[in-house]
C-alpha cells in the first residue's frame, strides 16, 4: 500500500513551501523510531476473550511477536488497561489506553487515547449510554477485572456485549474532542462491521482511518470494497487469544502518541504506516 505518498497529502493551508519547511524541520528535530503495533487487543474483561488473555501473558505474547506497541480495547470497557500497563512496565512494550465501542448502529469502533485520564472521561460517557442489563455468563462468558499478575479482582456485572446509545458520529466526535482517535474496526466483517451495517463509509463525520481484519490483506480489502481504498488502513488481529497477535502495522513515528499516529496515518512529516501483510 502506498499510504503516505506525497500525492495523497492534502496540501497544508498556505503554500507548498511551508510544508517542505515543516518536513525539513521535522526530519531535523525528530528522531524517528519504528513501532510494530497491534491496536486491537482484548483481555479477560471481554466475555469473548480466552481466559489466557491476562496482562503478563499479553505482554509476553506481544513481545514474542516483535510487537512494541499495543492498545487494550475491551468491549465498551477499560478496567484492565492499568493492569496491562503495569505488566508492561520496563519491558519496552508501550500500552495505549483504549476500548472498543459498540455504537447504536451496532458498528464496532476502536477508541484510542494517550492517557488514562482521557480514557476515563470517555468511559464515563460510555457508561451513561450502556443499557442497565446484566451479563449472562452462560451465554456471553465471564468478564473479569484483574491485576497486573492476572489475579482476579472482580466480575464486571454489566452486559458489555451490547450497543451504547451513541451514534457512530457522536462517538467519533467525542473521542476526537477528548484527544483520542477513533477507528471503525474490522470494516470487512459481516458482524459489527461498518460496511455490513451502514452499507458504506458515512460522509457526515470525519473518518481518519479504517481497520481491516486478519481475514484479508489491504489489497484484497480495496478490491472487495473499492470505497475504502482512499482511507488509511490499519490491520489488526482483533486479539482474543494469545496466538492471534498479528503485529501487522509498522509505524514510523517520533514517539508512541496519538498525535504521531495521526501523522503516520496521513504520511506527513516523514511519519509512515506500512501494513506488513499487504
Amino acid at each position: 500500500m502506498g499510504i503516505g505518498t506525497e500525492e495523497q497529502l492534502t496540501p497544508a493551508p498556505g503554500a507548498g513551501a511551508d510544508r517542505e519547511d515543516l518536513q525539513a524541520e521535522g526530519a531535523e528535530q525528530d528522531r524517528l523510531e519504528t513501532y510494530v503495533a497491534e491496536l486491537h487487543v482484548h483481555t479477560v474483561l471481554s466475555p469473548c476473550a480466552e481466559v489466557e488473555m491476562i496482562p503478563p501473558l499479553i505482554v509476553q505474547a506481544a513481545l514474542a511477536r516483535g510487537i512494541n506497541l499495543i492498545a487494550v480495547t475491551d468491549h465498551n470497557a477499560s478496567a484492565n488497561v492499568p493492569a496491562v500497563q503495569k505488566a508492561a512496565a520496563g519491558t519496552g512494550l508501550v500500552v495505549w489506553p483504549g476500548l472498543e465501542l459498540q455504537t447504536r448502529e451496532e458498528v464496532h469502533l476502536l477508541c484510542l487515547f494517550d492517557t488514562l485520564e482521557s480514557l476515563s472521561a470517555w468511559q464515563a460517557v460510555v457508561d451513561k449510554h450502556l443499557p442497565p442489563l446484566e451479563n449472562n455468563i452462560e451465554f456471553f462468558g465471564e468478564q473479569f477485572a484483574v491485576d497486573e499478575t492476572g489475579a482476579f479482582i472482580r466480575r464486571e456485572p454489566r452486559l458489555l456485549l451490547t450497543s451504547a446509545s451513541l451514534s457512530l458520529k457522536e462517538a467519533i466526535e467525542s473521542v476526537t474532542q477528548l484527544g483520542g482517535l477513533a477507528i471503525p474496526a474490522h470494516v470487512d466483517r459481516k458482524a459489527f462491521g461498518l460496511i455490513a451495517n451502514l452499507g458504506f463509509v458515512p460522509t457526515d463525520v470525519s473518518i481518519e482511518a479504517l481497520e481491516i481484519s486478519r481475514h484479508l490483506n489491504s489489497q484484497e480489502a480495496a478490491n472487495r470494497f473499492p470505497q475504502i481504498a482512499g482511507f488509511p488502513l490499519i490491520q489488526s488481529g482483533d486479539v482474543h487469544r494469545l496466538s492471534e497477535f498479528l503485529g501487522a502495522n509498522e509505524l514510523t513515528m517520533a514517539a508512541p502518541t496519538i498525535a504521531e499516529l495521526r501523522l503516520a496515518l496521513q504520511g506527513r512529516m516523514n511519519r509512515r504506516l506500512k501494513v506488513l501483510t499487504s
Binding site: S167, L198, G199, F200
Partner: protein, 114 residues
C-alpha cells in the same frame, strides 16, 4: 394500496415534507437493519422497515427510489439526515412500534410481495 392509507392506518408520524401520498403506491416491502443487505435486497419503490436512523439510510433510500422508510421503535434521525431526505425527496416515517408489528400490519393491509 397507497402510502396515504398506510400512514393513516399505522398512525405513522411524517418526519419529512408532505407530498400527495394518495398517488404513491409502494411496490412491496422489505425489513432489515443491515444496510448492505437492504442495498441488494429491497425492491425499487418499495417500503423499507428498519430501526436504523443513521444518515446512510437516506442514500440507500434514494438509490432504490423507495416509496418510504418506516423507522421503528422510536428511533430518530438527526436534523442533517432529515434535511438530506427532504433534499432527495425521500419520505421518512416514524413509529414507536417494533418492526415485527409494523410488518405484520402492512401484511394484513395487503402489502404482500408477489
Amino acid at each position: 394500496m397507497t402510502l396515504e392509507e398506510i400512514i393513516e392506518k399505522l398512525e405513522l408520524e411524517l418526519l419529512t415534507r408532505p407530498k400527495d401520498f394518495s398517488q404513491v403506491v409502494p411496490s412491496g416491502g422489505y425489513a432489515a437493519d443491515l444496510l448492505s443487505c437492504v442495498m441488494t435486497g429491497a425492491m425499487h419503490q418499495g417500503i423499507w422497515v428498519t430501526l436504523q436512523a443513521h444518515a446512510n439510510i437516506v442514500a440507500v433510500g434514494a438509490l432504490l427510489e423507495l416509496s418510504a422508510i418506516i423507522i421503528t421503535e422510536g428511533a430518530r434521525p438527526d436534523q442533517d439526515t432529515l434535511a438530506k431526505a427532504n433534499h432527495e425527496g425521500l419520505t421518512l416515517l416514524a413509529t414507536s412500534q417494533p418492526t415485527f408489528n409494523v410488518v405484520g400490519r402492512l401484511w394484513e393491509l395487503g402489502l404482500k410481495n408477489s
